[in-house]
């Protein structure tokens, strides 16, 4: 056991048991998985991703490049750092060989988001962040303080003195003040992982990782905070920089400050025989503290002379300090056994090698928004250069390392004082001499100095290119330890100064974020809004199968017990063609168009003339874009001289209103027209079939529904129990049909009354699939199914809907382009498979038919494709609609459709297959 009495902030009165690689370990609340393992002198059984070499735990927090585990319980998660997994009772994990495994069971936990607006966001609750947050809070600002570790204090160990008191007492005091401030939100276990434009920061809060219930009960497991701050203070600290040396990937090699963190945070001594190899002062604190906790320690300083004050402290303790000395390599198998010291590679026995090459300011959150970083040769690191409006970087993140300086920078004159510690300059040392094929720059990617040399040898001179060639900095730590070193070594190999080379751009996320957290509530039933009509529950009760049309759930068909979709649709079609059916068409888009210039606007937007439409009448209309291609279609009712009701396709309701508003607001603001969406104001039911007149006449007894009084393409208003109702003779099936419109408030009642009135006629609710078949039998295209944005009204055979009288309308000029006159344009036709049996798959290609029934040799000449295909009850056979090159000229021709490897012959015909004279629609 390497647990040291008197150290650490764990709760030793309680125990937790974790299982790693099948072995059980006890730890305490407050432990990380890594600290539990180190306390037992263990490590996860993990190996490097490419070379399979054993890997241990190399740091104490998110910068650890090696200590990856797969967590199995409480919930499977791949590739977590043992250093960031809090030890909870029952946790099960195992080492990974560089790759994790996604969960095979559904994640039942909740994930959510929270939008927060504040005056100041402080990132990091170390000494700088705490003081900055307190200063802002006392000023009365709304403050949000986030910090990624379980407790505040940053890298303070408790050995420091602030304001004459132990540093952690001061931390507790500030945290207590912030907790009681109503204008402060203080979140630990919350990682600011991305910083975006306009003061926007995303932060991931781990809300249940430290509790035992896994958070399945109430709380979301993780929460993405979407924070919008007027001012952002980045106080994210700094990350220690390793020194690259031969075989620097062995278990038992660690960053110096991390060993100190393990001791003071968890009471764990990471090794008994310790070699500290440093080019910076801070590692001496680790040497002294580990010595005081019982380790045997010696310090090798790469600098020409060791720092005076620290040398004295070491001498007082009998810690040997040797200056001007390099470690060139290591020995060991599953764990380091010796450091190879000096040019002669003298073996110095050890079970822990600590390295420290100085500190890299954690300026990621500054860099995310385009903040420029510049190389500071005194740090051997990149730090924020030019300021950015609204963003401040303070403390170690800004390259300020002395505690007294940090506090002053964060709190100004009101900051608590700390002792001034002299600091000798850091010596910049990226690597020592050794075999470059075993000098690991990015340990998690198994990428070495030799890989960088290969990249440079291949002609790469930019660190961005080297990064992509070597994959350095692309794994979970995103270059936290390897980024600057890669720049430094690349510069060295190129013989150029590192400041010229720069560093790779930091991009979000700062640490890995689970997709589940990013998805938040938007999964399962809430993945996308589901829109339902006012009588949705009636469809459900009637056993409807639904289909998605945009976000709408529309009843597709209503299968009886034992029926499949084909059976149900044939039955529904037959009912409409022989008696009466009823369909919920409430999803159609509806726009109220008001004003003296309403007709002018519609004349400009529809291909046909709308100003000539008489009040009381209905006209089918087509809209095109400027390119002359069909954009939408629908019916237009003239309600008054200055008022129309326009319907659109279900999927295009919003787009058509937007389109009309765009022209009105931006091009023709002089037109006196008001557009109002009434899509959900009015429910529409289509009552179709030879008996529809009987049904509608029975429900609306006040209305004369005879063909003479209520002709095709006219509308009439009536009332039902005092509630206004509008009826229109509109048919999308070719049958006698009425559309009944009523305020959605009364939709359930009106639907019920129509069903009741139709009972004796066997009124049959029909769905969208039946509607598709019925309209296809009549050759009516569906915009978006039979068209794809490259189809003109003429291609659809709808020249009749294109006005020749209007001087202009949107799309008209494009009809005159030579491309639109091409006789080989694809045109809508019908296709009848000659075997009268094969239902041609929608989307099938159409080729010239070869007599031997085989596909011609490639390149196969394509003539077009099938857009709609169904079984027809009326024709008692399958049929299809298709877009075919020069299709109308080919009517009567047999073409081939490849189906399952065979060429199925199909006859091209006119689009209208049922009742071409149109006699049925008048009943």
């Amino acid at each position: 056991m390497s647990r040291i009495e008197g150290y650490g902030r764990i709760d030793r009165s309680r125990h937790v048991t974790v299982t790693v690689d099948g072995a059980a370990y006890t730890g305490h609340p407050g432990d990380s998985l890594a600290s539990v393992l180190l306390a037992h002198d263990a490590r996860p059984a993990n190996t490097g991703v490419k070379l399979g070499r054993p890997r241990g735990i190399g740091a104490s927090w998110t910068e650890d490049p090696t200590g990856l585990v797969q967590v199995e319980e409480p919930f499977p998660e791949p590739m977590l750092l043992a250093t960031t997994v809090e030890a909870t009772d029952g946790l099960v994990a195992r080492g990974v060989n560089g790759q994790g495994r996604l969960s095979e069971v559904p994640d039942l936990a909740r994930y959510d988001r929270l939008h927060t607006h504040c005056d100041v966001l402080v990132i990091g609750a170390g000494p700088a962040g705490l003081v900055a947050a307190r200063t802002a809070a006392r000023r009365g600002d709304d403050v949000v303080l986030v910090d990624d570790r379980p407790t505040a204090g940053g890298t303070l160990t408790g050995t420091e003195t602030i304001d004459g008191r132990p540093s952690l007492d001061v931390v507790d005091e500030i945290v207590a003040e912030l907790t009681t401030s109503p204008n402060v939100t203080h979140l630990q276990r919350t990682t600011a992982f991305g910083h975006y434009d306009d003061g926007f920061v995303l932060a991931l809060e781990r809300r249940t990782s430290h509790t035992d219930d896994g958070g399945l009960a109430r709380r979301s497991r993780q929460r993405v905070h979407r924070i919008r701050a007027a001012r952002i203070v980045v106080a994210a600290g700094a990350i220690e920089r390793p020194i690259v040396l031969e075989d620097n990937d062995r278990p038992g090699i660690m960053l110096a400050a991390s060993a100190r963190d393990f001791l003071h945070r968890y009471g764990v001594l990471a090794g008994r025989e310790v070699v500290v190899f440093t080019s910076d002062d801070a590692a001496y604190a680790a040497a002294v503290d580990l010595h005081d906790a019982g380790a045997s320690v010696q310090v090798l300083d790469a600098r020409a002379t060791a720092p005076t004050l620290w040398s004295r402290r070491c001498a007082d303790r009998g810690i040997a300090v040797t200056a001007n000395t390099h470690v060139h390599g290591t020995r060991g198998e599953d764990r380091i056994t010796a450091a190879l010291v000096g040019p002669e590679r003298r073996e110095v026995a050890c079970d822990l090698l600590l390295t420290s090459g100085g500190w890299n300011p954690t300026a990621h959150l500054f860099s995310h928004v385009g903040g420029r970083l510049a190389y500071d040769p005194s740090l051997g690191a990149f730090r924020p250069a030019a300021p950015r409006p609204g963003v401040e970087v303070i403390g170690a993140a800004d390259g300020t390392f002395g505690l007294a300086d940090i506090l002053r920078q964060a709190g100004g004159v009101g900051a608590p004082p700390a002792n001034e510690e002299p600091r000798d300059p850091t010596a910049v040392l990226w690597r020592t001499d050794g075999d470059p094929t075993r000098q690991f720059v990015d340990i998690q990617r198994d990428a070495t100095v030799a890989d960088i040399a290969r990249a440079v040898g291949a002609g790469m001179t930019s660190v961005e290119h080297v990064k992509r060639y070597t994959t350095i900095g692309t794994a979970h730590d995103q270059g936290k330890t390897s980024g600057v070193i890669a720049s430094g070594i690349t510069a060295e190999l190129l013989g150029r100064p590192v400041e010229d080379l720069g560093t790779t751009t930091f991009r979000p996320p700062y640490t890995p974020v689970a997709f589940a957290a990013l998805a938040g509530r938007e999964r399962g039933d809430l993945f996308d809004p589901v829109r339902t009509t006012p009588i949705h529950d009636r469809h459900v009760a009637a056993g409807a199968e639904f289909e998605d049309v945009g976000q709408w759930k529309r009843a597709r068909h209503y299968p009886h017990p034992g029926e499949n979709m084909t059976d149900a649709v044939l039955r529904e079609c037959a009912a409409v063609r022989t008696s009466v059916g009823i369909m919920d068409a409430s999803t159609l888009g509806k726009i109220d168009v008001r004003g003296p210039d309403a007709a002018v606007l519609l004349d400009r937007l529809y291909t046909n003339m709308m100003s000539s439409l008489k009040v009381g009448r209905v006209r089918y209309g087509v809209m095109c874009g400027n390119d002359g291609m069909v954009f939408d279609d629908g019916t237009v009712l003239r309600l008054a001289d200055d008022r129309f009701l326009v319907t659109t396709t279900t999927g295009n309701a919003a787009a058509v209103l937007d389109w009309m508003e765009e022209w009105l607001q931006t091009e023709w603001p002089e037109l006196r027209v008001r557009l109002t969406s009434v899509t959900e104001q009015w429910s529409i039911f289509a009552v179709a079939g030879p008996r529809s007149r009987d049904v509608v006449g029975a429900v609306f007894a006040d209305l004369d529904v005879s063909n003479e009084a209520f002709g095709f393409m006219t509308w009439h208003d009536t009332a039902l129990d005092g509630v206004p109702v509008r009826l229109a003779r509109i048919s999308f099936s070719g049958e006698l049909a009425f559309e009944v419109s009523v305020s959605a408030w009364y939709a359930p009642a009106v639907w019920a009354r129509l069903l009741e009135a139709g009972r004796d006629h066997g009124i049959t609710p029909y769905g969208t699939e039946t509607m598709h078949v019925l309209r296809a039998e009549k050759g009516y295209p569906i915009i978006g199914q039979d068209t794809d944005g490259t189809v003109s009204p003429h291609d659809l055979g709808m020249a009749w809907a294109v006005s020749k009288k209007k001087p202009d309308f949107v799309g008209r000029r494009s009809f005159g382009r030579p491309q639109n006159q091409d006789p080989l344009r694809k045109q809508l036709v019908s296709l009848l498979p000659t075997d009268a049996a094969t239902k041609l798959p929608e989307g099938s290609q159409i080729v010239r038919f070869a007599d031997d029934g085989r596909l011609p040799a490639p390149p196969v000449p394509m003539l077009g494709h099938v857009t709609s295909s169904y079984h027809s009850a009326a024709l008692d056979r399958p049929f299809a609609l298709a877009l075919v090159k020069g299709g109308r000229e080919r009517i009567g021709e047999v073409v081939g459709v490849p189906v399952a490897g065979e060429l199925v012959p199909a006859l091209i015909g006119e689009t209208v297959l049922v009742d071409p004279e149109g006699a049925r629609r008048d009943g």
Binding site: D197, R228, N626, D658, E662, Q665, R813
Partner: protein, 99 residues
Amino acid sequence: MQLIACPWCGPREEIEFSYGGQAAVAYPADPASLSDEQWARFVFFRDNPKGPFAERWVHSAGCRRWFGAVRDTRTYEFLSVGPLSATTARTSVLPEATP
């Protein structure tokens, strides 16, 4: 998530807005008089400058009003936003006001 200042509703997240392309592209007074090439230019061609660009936007999820904006295409920064003038609309949409 960028903020865009709707001249009417104030700053809102960009997801509430839709892009309307280059401003000041007027619908031709007499399309019939244009050559095919001139017409194709109007329908299909737009400027693509590096730097400030006068654009049209609409606050789709809010007030549904169109407005003009000058945006720097290098930084995405909105340099100014303002209402489309009632008389100039697409034809000269450079807004003057910055909120």
